[in-house]
């Protein structure tokens, strides 16, 4: 029996379980979980129509959710379901848009033409993800102008992680591995969300995110096996990004405000702490392959729980950063507002051209 060690061995992805365990490494089961969610979406749709009278609004809504089918834009839904989704999807969209900044600032400084091209493609993906999500939010009856306004006026938040600076090239690696990694762990369950447009957007996004995570991992692997200074740079990036990445899963379950209802409506499928644990368990093995250290002296395998024990991130810091007092909040918002206002003439010119052409057709 030959051992299958090579990456090019084409049986690796064919055999084995569909739900790879947390030890599956960077090639692991996340992408397969996205595919499983997509298959489940199709399968649920094939179960046939949900029994019940659509006129009995709440009952029918509950029945659709119970049958694991999707709520679609023109279906009746409780106001709180609609409001909660708008808030969640919009904040997710804002995060993608603001998330272009920490990486965008490294496009001109990436160490090779290949790395520049890759980073450019990645930042373009983030813009795309923002747009898929804004479009999903708009199906709930909110306009794009309102959503953009909510971000620019600071009335809606984006993920606190983007308020940290990218100081070195290794930070681009750490963002890909840890920040995108945490985002994927958070987002894969959203591929099964009960709201159809959101679930479909998430399936698209997760498939693309997997490239993001791998490119970050590759950057760190290259640095870690380079000169001692490069190795140190990679370690320094992980030291700074580890705890903010853990904080991305939100406050501990005991303090989380929106969770219970979100679970009942099958918007959210796992609690903040469950997802954080899953992320830590994945990262430990991956850090080993990188030859880098996770900066937590209390991180160790707990044989009884079959999970790792680890130190919680500083949740007070998370709250401060969310409230606006992070290292880069002011800079990120100022940059976003400037980009929006400096783009005004482009939007005006395009609108004027469209109007002129419409007139020409009308004559």
């Amino acid at each position: 029996m030959l051992a299958c060690v090579s990456r090019s061995c084409n049986t690796v992805g064919v055999y084995g379980n569909d739900f790879a365990g947390p030890d599956a490494g960077p090639d692991g089961g996340l992408l397969r979980q996205v595919e499983a969610a997509e298959a489940a979406l199709r399968a649920a749709a094939l179960h046939g129509r949900v029994e019940g009278d659509p006129a009995a609004l709440q009952d029918y809504f509950d029945a659709v959710i119970a049958a694991d089918q999707k709520i679609e834009p023109r279906d009746w839904m409780p106001d709180a379901y609609r409001r909660g989704l708008v808030r969640q999807i919009a904040q997710h969209a804002h995060s993608e848009i603001i998330g272009m900044q920490p990486e965008g600032s490294w496009i001109t400084r990436a160490p090779s033409l290949k790395r520049k091209a890759i980073l450019l493609a990645k930042v373009q993906d983030e813009a795309g993800h923002g747009l898929y999500l804004y479009a999903a939010a708009e199906t709930l009856g909110v306009t794009r102008e309102e959503l953009v306004g909510l971000l620019l006026d600071g009335r809606q938040k984006y993920s606190s992680i983007f308020n940290y600076p990218t100081l070195t090239w290794a930070d681009i690696g750490a963002i890909g591995w840890l920040v995108d990694g945490a985002a994927i762990v958070n987002q894969v369950p959203l591929c099964r969300c009960s709201y159809g447009p959101y679930a479909r957007a998430m399936i698209r996004i997760c498939k693309e995110e997997s490239f993001h995570q791998r490119q970050g991992y590759e950057i760190l692997h290259t640095l870690s096996h380079g000169t001692p200074a490069q190795h140190e740079m990679a370690q320094d990036a992980i030291d700074r990004w580890w705890y903010p990445s853990l904080a991305m899963f939100g406050p501990p379950d005991t303090d989380s405000t929106h969770s219970e209802q979100s679970m009942a409506w099958k918007i959210k499928r796992f609690s903040n702490d469950e997802l954080r644990q899953r992320f830590v368990d994945m990262c430990v093995q991956q850090a080993g392959v990188l030859g880098l250290r996770i900066p937590d002296p209390d991180l160790r395998w707990n044989d009884e729980r079959q999970e790792h024990d680890f130190s919680a991130p500083d949740f007070d810091e998370l709250m401060r950063v969310i409230k606006g007092d992070g290292p880069c909040n002011t800079e990120r918002m100022a940059y976003r507002r400037r980009a929006h206002s400096e783009g005004a003439w482009v939007r005006e010119a395009a609108a004027a051209y469209a109007a002129k052409r419409q007139e020409a057709v009308a004559v």
Partner: protein
């Protein structure tokens, strides 16, 4: 961003398949909508053809009248081939 019109985007993934709805986007006009759709929905060779349709040009059935609207089809089982009993021995049916 003065309320650019909304376009629905349909992509034909490969020759031989129908165009499928993939999402929507805003653009000042159809031509820019097409270019934006290329950048937004086919960054990884997801399609060989794109349609963009102004959302206002689409007339849709309403979910409120779902039953009344689709009911006429429910009692016409004879439209399906499985409705018919085929005598033993009849081939190529």
């Amino acid at each position: 961003m003065n309320g650019e019109p909304l376009f629905e985007v349909f992509v034909r993934p490969r020759r031989g398949l129908s165009h499928t709805h993939v999402g929507s986007l805003h653009a000042p006009d159809a031509e820019l909508a097409l270019r934006n759709a290329r950048d937004l929905y086919t960054r990884r060779e997801e399609g060989v053809s794109i349609w963009v349709v102004a959302a206002t040009a689409i007339t849709a059935s309403s979910p409120d009248e779902k039953d009344a609207f689709f009911d006429p089809a429910a009692d016409k089982v004879y439209r399906h081939p499985t409705f018919y009993d085929i005598p033993d021995g009849a081939k190529h049916l």
